[in-house]
Symmetry: C2
Subunit: 268 residues, 2 copies
């Protein structure tokens, strides 16, 4: 673990490894999509199956075990984590910010670094953190079944107010001067923010299909859904989504509980 | 608005301006503390009083008004925002990441940039985002009084499981090899992460004083509370905290509702 600092320069040539749970796209998916789009190979602990990937995640995040595998890096509170040579990083937007310029999906410096980070943090706030709390508004340690009435209330607020707010935000980003030519959120070419938007919409569509359909039909967010479609048709992404490498949605962040988007009074 | 790109180089000499609500420390406080510690003057919209600061915030975040004031920057979804010459940024961890190296509170490059961002994102997840939801577990658009039973449940979970988890995380950061000499979270000198920790603990202590007292007495997080005390005694911070520049806690993120930390069955 106590390697000389001079070794760190070799990190840039080292292979990338994603450490994440097996069996769900989750926050790890944002990171996978960068590698897929860039055509850069990476190791994925979730490929090892349920048992081995759990072992590797727990080894990292357990207070007792973490120090033995973290090397010269601060402890990891939660996955996804990225290992790149002797560098170990956690926090999804942080990993993305580290990776994107290395994979050609963001500028290496300048104000664009912060503009892109701002867009990504806002998308993740809305489509990941807030969406997650629609099925776990009280406690992540308790089952959904034990917080259903609260989940129903929070989902109603999310569907009616938060989701339109964040979709409206994404559309405004597309309408701004900083979104140049083409369908992209920022500048004139694809960046990692576009991949984050794709996964955000894809997951939200799985969780709340009727709601997304309705919002799509409103015509207010055409740029957002057009960008979603554009990313879905990128050759490498398309091939990946059709493969068994793409993990199926299940009981992660994006869950489909039909009762959470049903109207309280059914009118037929 | 359409200024030539060459003007952007002058941004580094421009004054800083924080755009935030008047009358509460809130997320804006993380940014204020960087300026205070660095001894760098900044404009603060909240100094203009309630009405003017609301006007300036709404001008920025309103879908209809935003584009007229955002210049060559992506739209702002929520404050705090920072204006620095023709650069406009939002998202607290993003603003901090931009400011810290400019104010001498973080390295300008290298893996430390991502390590510090990781620590700050984790602290804000726990002590801001999750803490906020203890009094607003259902909807930020509704009053606390309309979500009290849910708030009580979420607060119980926060107090018993999440708060010890995040304090334990901060202590592990201090115990790691990456925390060098001195009381600091990262390296051998004060960084912006230490200021974020200070405000996180200070706010949490206001909201849940009995809980923090109990956790402090457990002796498990001595490094964390020692760092908190160290920051509180920094000359510039100490002077600021005693001044009327330091906004009082109220109905922002960190609120004190005694009922949220009372035991359900009182045993005397």
């Amino acid at each position: 673990m106590a390697e000389p600092d001079s070794k760190r320069i070799k990190t840039e040539d080292a292979p990338y490894e994603l450490i994440y749970w097996h069996g769900l796209p989750g926050r790890g998916e944002f990171i996978r999509l960068l590698f897929v789009e860039a055509g850069v190979p990476f190791k994925d602990t979730s490929d090892k199956g349920h048992g081995a990937s759990i072992g590797q995640v727990l080894e990292l995040v357990s207070p007792d075990l973490g120090p033995s595998v973290q090397g010269k890096n601060p402890p990891v509170c939660a996955v996804p984590a990225l290992r790149h040579g002797d560098v170990l990083l956690s926090q999804t937007p942080n990993i993305l910010q580290y990776l994107a310029p290395r994979l050609g999906l963001a500028p290496k410096e300048g104000v664009a670094v912060y503009h892109l980070n701002q867009i990504v943090l806002t998308l993740i706030d809305g489509f990941v953190t807030e969406l997650h709390d629609t099925h776990h508004p009280i406690s992540v340690a308790a089952y959904y079944e034990d917080q259903k009435p609260e989940a129903k209330k929070r989902a109603k607020f999310f569907i009616e107010e938060r989701l339109p707010k964040f979709l409206g935000y994404a559309q405004r980003v597309l309408d701004a001067e900083t979104s140049g030519d083409g369908p992209w959120l920022y500048g004139d070419s694809l960046t990692y923010a576009d991949l984050v938007l794709f996964q955000s919409i894809d997951g939200t569509q799985f969780a709340f299909p009727k709601t997304i359909q309705k919002l799509k039909e409103s015509g207010k967010y055409d740029g957002v859904f057009k960008l979603y479609d554009t990313i879905k048709e990128r050759p490498a992404i398309k091939e990946y989504l059709a493969s068994d490498k793409r993990q199926k949605y299940g009981d992660g962040i994006w869950r489909h509980y039909p009762e959470l988007e049903e109207e309280e009074e059914k009118k037929e």
